[in-house]
């Protein structure tokens, strides 16, 4: 079993009278991309800031690579690379100069600097002023800074915010490479579910300052199920076929038949419906399994502020 890199135990935090985090506990393991989900205001950023000790926690314990972040702050920080909210860079300096500042503090040689620049794909534009960078480039430079010292855990707060689809894909690829090839744990917070689904190995859903659900995102094809919206003209007929042949109780939403079925059975289902001449108009797969988890956990998002 992989080692635990980040561990939170019974963490509490109150801002004034409002309890922001209550008894939060979670674990992140080596080589794992851990998604930290939750609606706005659920305490994601607060949790991350407490891990990094930008904010002091009221009670509880946070350990990074076995070091208590409160008692052994500097040791713990040696193993963390983090971007909180935005990558914080000096706009009047070039990308390489920003990197150099960090490299000096972290005592990293220039070979590593170039390697990291290469990894995030910024080598060609490292000598431009950061002020001229696009948001995606800034994110990548920020990532390069956090990777300089080969951290054991990468903590990213809403890294996909404001990125275009190409930027998101690039970020995802980089993160996957770091996590799965170099064994770095990645702790990502976000409220963009589709993103998390594509990126994460495991998600925790945070609501009202507590983890309400932790879910492994299944990757094996056999276990995968699909939720389908089926629109047919002969609705009655179709429901009967589904009930009889697939032993599934379909739901009816508006005029759509909604069923959840193993992915490998989808072709058979369509074939059956077609041969029975139910006049299929559309079969639309729902890719929102994470959304279901999310809304289940947060009671349909009613708690959003």
């Amino acid at each position: 079993m992989a080692n635990t890199v980040l561990e939170l135990k019974n963490v509490n935090k109150t801002f004034g009278k409002r309890k922001v985090i209550s008894n939060l506990s979670l674990e992140v393991k080596e080589g794992e991309i851990f998604g930290f989900l939750g609606p706005n205001g659920s305490g994601k950023t607060t949790t991350i800031k407490m891990i990094l000790r930008l904010i002091d926690m009221d009670s509880g314990e946070i350990k990074v690579a076995g070091f208590d972040t409160k008692k052994q702050f500097e040791k713990a920080m040696e193993y963390i690379g983090a971007i909180v909210e935005n990558p914080d860079l000096y706009k009047y300096m070039t990308g390489r100069e920003n990197l150099k500042l960090h490299a000096r503090i972290r005592n990293v040689d220039s070979e590593r600097k170039e390697k990291v620049l290469d990894l995030v794909g910024l080598k060609d534009r490292a000598n431009e002023k950061v002020g001229k960078y696009s948001l995606g480039m800034k994110q990548r430079l920020g990532l390069a800074l956090t990777l300089l010292h080969k951290p054991k855990i990468l903590i990213l707060d809403e890294p996909t915010n404001g990125l275009d689809p190409a930027g998101i894909k690039l970020l995802r690829d980089i993160l996957k490479q770091i996590a799965h090839k170099e064994g770095v744990a990645v702790f990502v917070s976000s409220h963009i579910l589709s993103e998390m689904q594509l990126m994460c190995d495991k998600v925790a859903v945070l609501d009202n300052g507590n983890v309400v659900k932790t879910e492994e995102i299944k990757v094996s094809e056999q276990e995968k199920t699909e939720t389908l919206d089926i629109r047919v003209k002969e609705t009655e007929k179709a429901i009967k076929i589904i009930k009889d042949k697939f032993k599934i109780e379909p739901k009816l939403e508006e005029n759509n038949i909604v069923i959840t079925i193993e992915t490998e059975k989808v072709p058979i289902l369509i074939k059956e419906l077609a041969t029975a001449d139910t006049q299929i108009m559309a079969v639309i797969p729902r890719e929102h399994s994470l959304e279901d988890i999310f809304f289940d956990a947060t009671e349909g998002g009613k708690n959003n502020e």
């Binding site: 800031k49 990094l52 930008l54 904010i55 002091d56 702050f73 500097e74 040791k75 713990a76 920080m77 040696e78 963390i80 983090a82 909180v84 909210e85 935005n86 914080d88 860079l89 000096y90 009047y92 300096m93 100069e97 150099k100 500042l101 960090h102 000096r104 503090i105 972290r106 005592n107 956090t146």
Partner: protein, 484 residues
């Protein structure tokens, strides 16, 4: 330690790569060159004024006076004494004209002789006539031969005679002989167009000698304290040293090099102070608002190390800029002014010592940087507490600019002892270290009040306590507040 050093280097790189830092540096350098241009301009105006005043023909005026008196005498109707007086004046004025001596310049030796002759002629009495006549003869002889040395010799003889006769004490005799020796040795009063400071210095030496001799301060008419006596004795020594080495006193505003150096050090240090405040006042607050504080906070360094590195980089900035500006100022005054360099003269254990111009200038700039450091600390503290650049910079600049005036008002009204403990009353360290370089430009030094007349050690202690309080406040705030 090496961690803090690395942070410190980073902070310096960060500061120096900023455009505003470069602009501030340019402004500081411009301040120096502005002062240079201003001094040169004033020098030019002064030269013009001098040429205008020299256009006045004193001979013509004198001739007019003579004509007037002569006219009055020919008209008649004057009583005996007035007529005698007028005749006397005529003969004196004619002597002035004859030897081409400007009469108002009474420290010039020829003018002195003529006045003396005139006095003798008025005061000559029947029984002493032969003696007086002889003296007049001698004086006239000296005047004709243009023999300064002989005149000095004669004066010394007179003093000796007075002493032998018992009209003056030994002390008075010694003092007068010292003055005459100085006059003879450095030919003070010999040339009519020599620099005026030598004569002024000599008369101030005379005044101080008198104060010491009589035990009554000639300036204030009070009994001379032991402290003042010591000060006068030292000053006499320094003044003699000045005459010996032909060094004009620093107060001398005729010397445009001195004017430049004084203006430059005051103006440049003021601009440096504002630059330091701007940099220190934005150090934490700007980074918090830009989010770049996290750039540092997310590195394996405790908060106090980060703040310490920032603090050190501000201090380093002040130090480097101060030294650069001191060197530039030395360079400018050597390049653009022909006058000899000012040295700092002081007395230590009874002997006169000097500090050469370059080290003196640098030392003075560095001492002047101490108040700048206090204000930079103040700005940094405000920046850490308020996290608002506008507030911390504007408030610090206002305090820097306004404290002199506010304290001057407070000091005149409040005569309590505690007012001495206010840090603003203790900022003027430079005048307490370089006691003998009066600074005509700074207001605080010219008004030496009860509140500001504290010792150097006292001032340093007050400022030190003040600095420690500010440091404790800023580190405490930075360590414990959340970075949001």
């Amino acid at each position: 330690m090496s961690k803090i050093f690395r942070l410190f280097i980073d902070e310096n790189i960060k500061t120096w790569k900023k455009t505003s830092t470069k602009i501030l540096l340019i402004v500081i350098i411009l301040a120096l060159f502005g002062t240079l241009a201003l001094t040169k301009f004033m020098q030019k105006i002064n030269d013009n004024n001098e040429s205008i005043s020299s256009n006045y023909d004193w001979k013509e005026g004198l001739q007019e006076d003579i004509n007037y008196y002569k006219e009055q005498i020919t008209i008649g109707g004057l009583d005996e004494t007035t007529r005698k007086e007028f005749e006397q004046l005529i003969s004196t004025y004619e002597l002035f004209l004859q030897y081409d001596v400007e009469p108002w310049n009474n420290t010039f030796w020829k003018a002195e002789i003529i006045t003396q002759i005139a006095n003798l002629q008025v005061n000559k009495t029947e029984n002493d006539e032969a003696n007086t006549e002889e003296t007049i003869q001698n004086l006239t002889e000296i005047l004709k031969n243009d023999d300064f040395a002989k005149y000095m010799e004669m004066q010394k003889q007179n003093v000796t005679k007075d002493y032998e006769r018992g009209t003056i004490t030994k002390q008075e005799y010694d003092d007068q002989m010292t003055i005459l020796d100085l006059k003879a040795k450095y030919e003070i009063g010999k040339s009519s167009d020599e620099e005026y400071w030598r004569r002024t210095l000599l008369s101030s030496i005379e005044a101080m000698q008198k104060s010491i001799r009589t035990g009554i301060d000639q300036e204030t008419n009070k009994v001379l304290t032991a402290e003042s006596k010591q000060k006068y004795e030292d000053t006499i020594k320094m003044d003699i040293y000045r005459l010996e080495h032909n060094m004009a006193p620093t107060q001398n505003t005729e010397n445009s090099r001195t004017v430049f150096e004084l203006l430059a050090e005051n103006f440049v240090m003021a601009v440096i102070a504002i630059a330091a405040i701007v940099i220190a006042g934005g150090e934490i607050s700007t980074e918090v608002s830009n989010g770049t504080i996290k750039f540092w906070a997310l590195t394996p360094n405790k908060r106090w190390k980060i703040l310490l590195a920032k603090l050190l980089s501000v201090l380093f900035y002040i130090l480097v800029i101060t030294i650069i500006m001191a060197l530039l100022s030395i360079l400018c005054s050597n390049l653009f002014f022909t006058e000899p360099a000012n040295e700092y003269i002081y007395v230590e254990n009874g002997t006169v010592k000097t500090i050469a111009n370059a080290p003196y200038t640098i030392e003075k700039y560095l001492v002047k940087a101490i108040p700048v450091v206090i204000f930079a600390l103040f700005a940094l503290m405000l920046s850490t507490i308020t996290r608002n650049t506008a507030v911390s910079v504007s408030f610090s600049v206002a305090t820097y600019m306004g404290n002199g005036m506010v304290m001057a008002i407070l000091n005149t009204f409040i005569k309590k002892d505690w007012i001495r403990y206010i840090p603003f009353n203790n900022l003027n360290i430079v005048d307490k270290i370089f006691v003998n370089s009066p600074n005509p430009i700074s207001i605080t030094s010219s008004v030496s009040t009860f509140a500001t007349s504290t010792s150097l050690e006292f001032s340093l202690a007050v400022l030190g306590v003040c600095a420690i309080l500010m440091l404790v406040t800023m580190f405490d705030s930075f360590n414990h507040r959340d970075i949001i």
